[in-house]
């Protein structure tokens, strides 16, 4: 199966502190991969490298065949990102936020209108087009951010702790929606989280700890390799933490 994301031996340090230490993995098209790690494991740093906000000190990152260091524009055109920190302009309407983003991606005219309508419809927010983002609930703001990330039909969708601050029902809805994109659109998804339950239904889980990948494989494989009975226990065994961190 074709790999959409290839990370090879990526390293990143902040001064003396090594935030990512020789990280390597692939994600095939249509796969939902959970990046599971405790706070400070290096998840956000990895996302900064994948989105080109920071450059890796060494190693390579290729998305859909393009190297991010050499062809960042081509890489970014194939990426959809939902950041941990909300990035909607709250003083603009839902539609204006989407139109702004579509324009930055070079989507215009009738195509732009069509894509925005399609994504809002999919998110169940078609009636909210003219509402200010400030007036939306946290869950709906996240849905708008997801709709925005999908406007460019990305090959790879990056979700950076996107459920932070959401209630359990909104969390589950968001996961289901993203999960369905893998099958409907063959989009590869990298879902960053510190919550084990969000990783349980993933096609594969990357366990990241102190900047290193401890395990990468289907949840069942990780559970079995750790000699545990659940993913939560396997994660605790691998990272040496008790289950209070698992959420």
């Amino acid at each position: 199966m074709k790999s959409i994301l290839q990370v090879s031996n990526a390293e990143k340090a902040y001064g003396e502190k090594l935030a990512l230490d020789g990280v390597s993995f692939d994600i095939p098209a249509g796969h939902f991969v959970a990046l599971l790690g405790l706070n400070g494991a290096g998840k956000t740093t990895l996302f900064q490298l994948l989105t080109g906000l920071f450059a890796a000190d060494s190693g390579s990152i290729t998305i859909d065949g393009f190297d991010i260091a050499r062809e960042p524009v081509a890489v970014l055109a194939r990426l959809g990102v939902v950041f941990q920190q909300p990035t909607l302009d709250l003083d603009m309407s839902v539609g204006a936020n989407l139109r702004f983003h579509a324009s930055l991606r070079g989507i215009r005219g009738a195509d732009r209108t069509q894509r925005i309508a399609k994504e809002l419809d999919r998110a169940g927010l078609a009636a909210e087009d003219k509402r200010l983002c400030r007036e939306l609930s946290g869950g709906n703001r996240r849905k708008v951010e997801l709709a925005r990330a999908l406007l460019g039909n990305p090959s790879l969708l990056l979700m950076d702790e996107a459920t932070v601050g959401l209630d359990p029902a909104s969390r589950q809805t968001l996961i289901s929606e993203v999960r369905s994109l893998c099958t409907e659109r063959n989009t590869a998804v990298l879902w960053s989280t510190h919550l084990v339950d969000e990783a349980e239904t993933a096609d594969a889980v990357i366990v990241l700890h102190q900047g290193r990948i401890l395990k990468y494989g289907p949840p069942a494989e990780i559970i079995s390799a750790a000699g545990a009975d659940t993913l939560a226990n396997a994660f605790a065994a691998l990272t040496g933490k008790d289950r209070t961190n698992n959420g």
């Binding site: 502190k17 080109g52 524009v73 081509a74 909300p86 003083d91 070079g106």
Partner: protein, 274 residues
């Protein structure tokens, strides 16, 4: 998807329009900002200039061909301060956007980083020009004698000055990490630039009064040259030295800003831990 790796002209134009429109929209929604942009120079013009017109005599000096009232003299300087404040405020908006996370969204758009920064710069310059013309309308209403043709001939000079001041603000936004620090930086940049320049008084007066250090600092201050470029342009004249200083400062500042925002080499990527 096609293997697209270069920037198409239509995509580039669309990005520029989107970023500029957002800035104009934000200004329109912040009526107080527009109002204060007009009040500040108007106060200088109506109060300061009225009080000082009999104290500060202006001799005949280029580009003027006759004696002029002090109010006429300080108009280019006050336009300069409109551009200066807005240039710094656009950068403040960048620091705000970075703190709010919106900057991340912008920087992950499939446009080259240098182009995105240029769009931000251009958008800020558009706002500056709109505010400068609003101030010119105030000047017209209170019958300050500025040649009407100057409204047109000064446009390229005002644009270049706005770009230069915006580029300096961009460089500041690279190194200032928090909004609180930026407010202090503005005080250390705006006021020295404004007062140590020819905005309020001809700099020969500094030389004549023996304040030679301030005189030489004024000569080196790019804001002085921005003001002089605009002053000359109002009368259809071209000040080559001022043009050269403003253009070179713009290029150098923009180069530093692009380097600062470059994830491979810039200060933004090196200093901050996410």
């Amino acid at each position: 998807m096609a293997r697209q790796s270069t920037l198409s002209p239509s995509h580039a134009l669309q990005g520029l329009i989107a970023i500029s429109s957002r800035e104009v929209f934000k200004l329109w929604n912040q009526k107080g900002r527009l109002f204060s942009a007009l009040v500040r120079p108007s106060l200088w013009l109506l109060v300061f200039a009225a009080g000082f017109q009999n104290v500060l005599g202006i001799s005949i000096l280029p580009p003027y061909e006759t004696y002029i009232p002090y109010q006429v003299y300080i108009v280019p300087g006050l336009i300069g301060i409109v551009l200066l404040f807005n240039g710094m405020q656009s950068s403040l908006a960048m620091v705000y956007d970075r703190e709010m996370g919106i900057m991340r969204l912008l920087l992950t758009a499939p446009l080259p980083r240098w182009y995105l920064l240029s769009c931000k710069l251009m958008a800020g310059a558009v706002l500056s020009i709109l505010q400068a013309y609003a101030f010119l309308i105030v000047c017209l209403l209170i019958r300050i004698d500025i040649p009407l043709i100057g409204w047109l001939t000064a446009l390229p000079a005002m644009l270049l000055a706005a770009l230069m001041l915006g580029a300096i603000g961009l460089v500041l936004s690279v190194y200032v990490k928090q909004l609180e620090n930026f407010a202090g930086t503005m005080n250390f940049v705006i006021f020295p630039m404004f007062f140590i320049s020819s905005a309020l008084y001809p700099i020969w007066k500094l030389e004549e009064s023996g304040a030679l250090i301030v005189y030489y600092l004024s000569m080196l201050n790019p804001f002085t040259h921005a003001v002089e470029l605009i002053r000359f342009a109002f009368y259809g004249k071209f000040n080559l030295i001022s043009f050269a200083v403003v253009a070179v400062t713009l290029i150098v500042a923009m180069a530093f800003a692009i380097r600062g925002y470059d994830p491979q080499r810039g200060a933004v990527g090196k200093v901050r831990k996410p």
